[in-house]
C-alpha cells in the first residue's frame, strides 16, 4: 500500500457528523459523498453528488483534485471558499481514506461574519471548536471596554469640574 491510501474503517458511519459538523467527504473523482450537519445548512442546495469544484473554489493546494495528487494527498492545509455567494472562506485539514477523502473545514477569521450570515447557534459548532470561545472573549472584551470608556467619561467630567473649581474665587464666585 502506497501514498495516501489507508483504510479508516469509519466511512459510512456517523462519526464524522458528530465530530466534524463542517466536514466534506468526497470520492476519488471529487464527487461529494457526505457533508457535516452544519455544513449542509450553509448552502440552499443539496451538495451531495455535486463535484467539489461546483461548490468550492479551491485556493490552495490548487491541484488537490488532480488525479496524480489524489494518490498522495495527505495532510495538506486546505484553503477554500464557496463558489457562490456568500463566498465564505474556510481553512481545513484533509485526510485520505480507502476510497474517499475527508476535508474537515472551519471558518477561520470569517466566523463572526458567517455566524451572522447563516444564523448559527452554539449547537452548530463542535464542542472542541474554539470559535465559541473567541466570540465569548470578544464580547467580554467589548463589555470591559464599555466599562473603561464610562470610567474615562466620569474622570473627564470630574477633571473639568475640578478645573472650574480651582479657577473660581470661593468668596465672590468670580473667575480668578
Amino acid at each position: 500500500m502506497s501514498g495516501g491510501y489507508r483504510p479508516m474503517g469509519l466511512e459510512g458511519s456517523t462519526v464524522f457528523d458528530t465530530l466534524c459538523p463542517f466536514h466534506v467527504r468526497y470520492d476519488l473523482d471529487g464527487k461529494i459523498i457526505s457533508v457535516g450537519p452544519t455544513m449542509a445548512k450553509l448552502r440552499p442546495f443539496d451538495m451531495i453528488g455535486m463535484h467539489m469544484t461546483d461548490v468550492f473554489e479551491i485556493i490552495s493546494p490548487k491541484d488537490m483534485l488532480e488525479p496524480e495528487q489524489v494518490q498522495t494527498l495527505e495532510g495538506p492545509r486546505l484553503h477554500l471558499r464557496f463558489s457562490h455567494p456568500p463566498r465564505t472562506p474556510f481553512k481545513g485539514d484533509i485526510s485520505a481514506g480507502f476510497d474517499a477523502f475527508v476535508a474537515n473545514l472551519s471558518f477561520n477569521h470569517a466566523a463572526f461574519e458567517a455566524i451572522k450570515v447563516y444564523n448559527l447557534t452554539v449547537a452548530d459548532f463542535a464542542h472542541t471548536d474554539m470559535a465559541i470561545e473567541l466570540l465569548y472573549l470578544l464580547e467580554a472584551k467589548t463589555a470591559m471596554q464599555g466599562e473603561v470608556e464610562a470610567l474615562l467619561g466620569q474622570l473627564h467630567k470630574a477633571k473639568s469640574k475640578a478645573e472650574v473649581h480651582a479657577s473660581t474665587d470661593q468668596l465672590t464666585g468670580l473667575k480668578n
Binding site: 455566524i115 447557534t121 452554539v122 465559541i132 466570540l135 463589555a143 470591559m144 466620569q154
Partner: protein, 199 residues
C-alpha cells in the same frame, strides 16, 4: 474586593430597591451614592457591610438578599452583557451546569484581577450537586441566584436546595447545593444569538 462587585451592588440596590435605599447604605459607610464610579475600593469587607446594611433596611436575611442580587445580575436589562456571557457556556441548561467549574477561569479571561471561588459539580440523579468554595463571603448565595436566573433564561424548571455533602467529596470549606432539573425545556427561554448587539 473588586470594584465591579461594589458597582454591581450599587446597581442592584438602585435598580431594584430605589436610589433612596442605596443612598442610605452608601452614607452608612461615609460614601456619596455616586462615589464608586471612580474609587478603587481597597476595603475588602466593604461589599459585605453594604449587604448587611441593605438586608437590615429591607428586613431580609443576608443570604436571601445575595440570592436576589445574583438573580438581578442575570435578569436585569442593565446587566444583559453578563447574562449573555453566561449563555456562552452551552446550548442548554444541563450544559451550563456542567460548565460551572469553568466559570472562574472564564471570568479571569475577561477580567484578570477578578478571582472567583472554585466551583465543582458532580452528577446526581435528576441533576447536579454544585460545590462552591467559600473564598469570598456570600458568593455561594450570589451564584445560586445566578443559577436560578440562568435556569429561567434557558427555559428550565429547577429545584435548588442547600444540602450536606452527599457525593463523597468531603471538603469543609465548600457549601453544597443540589440542583434538580425537573424539566430542561419547561418553557421557551430567552433568545440568545451568538453575536448579540455587536452584530
Amino acid at each position: 474586593m473588586h470594584a465591579l462587585i461594589v458597582k454591581g451592588l450599587k446597581g442592584y440596590f438602585t435598580h431594584i430597591h430605589g436610589a433612596k435605599i442605596w443612598a442610605t447604605i452608601a452614607k452608612s459607610e461615609g460614601y456619596a451614592p455616586d462615589d464608586f464610579e471612580l474609587t478603587i475600593v481597597e476595603d475588602r469587607q466593604l461589599a459585605n457591610r453594604f449587604v448587611v446594611k441593605g438586608a437590615q433596611l429591607l428586613d431580609r436575611t443576608d443570604d436571601d438578599l445575595l440570592q436576589d442580587f445574583g438573580l438581578y445580575l442575570i435578569t436585569h436589562p442593565s446587566t444583559n452583557a453578563l447574562r449573555r456571557l453566561m449563555r456562552f457556556s452551552g446550548p442548554d441548561f444541563m450544559e451550563f451546569l456542567v460548565s460551572l467549574p469553568d466559570l472562574a477561569p472564564r471570568v479571569s479571561l475577561a477580567v484578570p484581577d477578578l478571582i472567583l471561588p472554585r466551583v465543582d459539580v458532580a452528577e446526581i440523579e435528576l441533576g447536579f450537586e454544585v460545590a462552591i468554595r467559600d473564598t469570598i463571603d456570600g458568593f455561594d448565595h450570589v451564584l445560586v441566584g445566578v443559577i436560578r436566573g440562568m435556569a429561567d433564561d434557558y427555559g428550565a424548571l429547577v429545584d435548588i436546595t442547600q444540602t450536606d455533602c452527599k457525593a463523597n467529596r468531603d471538603l469543609p470549606d465548600y457549601s453544597y447545593w443540589s440542583v434538580l432539573v425537573l424539566d430542561v425545556a419547561f418553557h421557551k427561554g430567552r433568545e440568545f444569538g451568538l453575536l448579540g448587539d455587536t452584530a
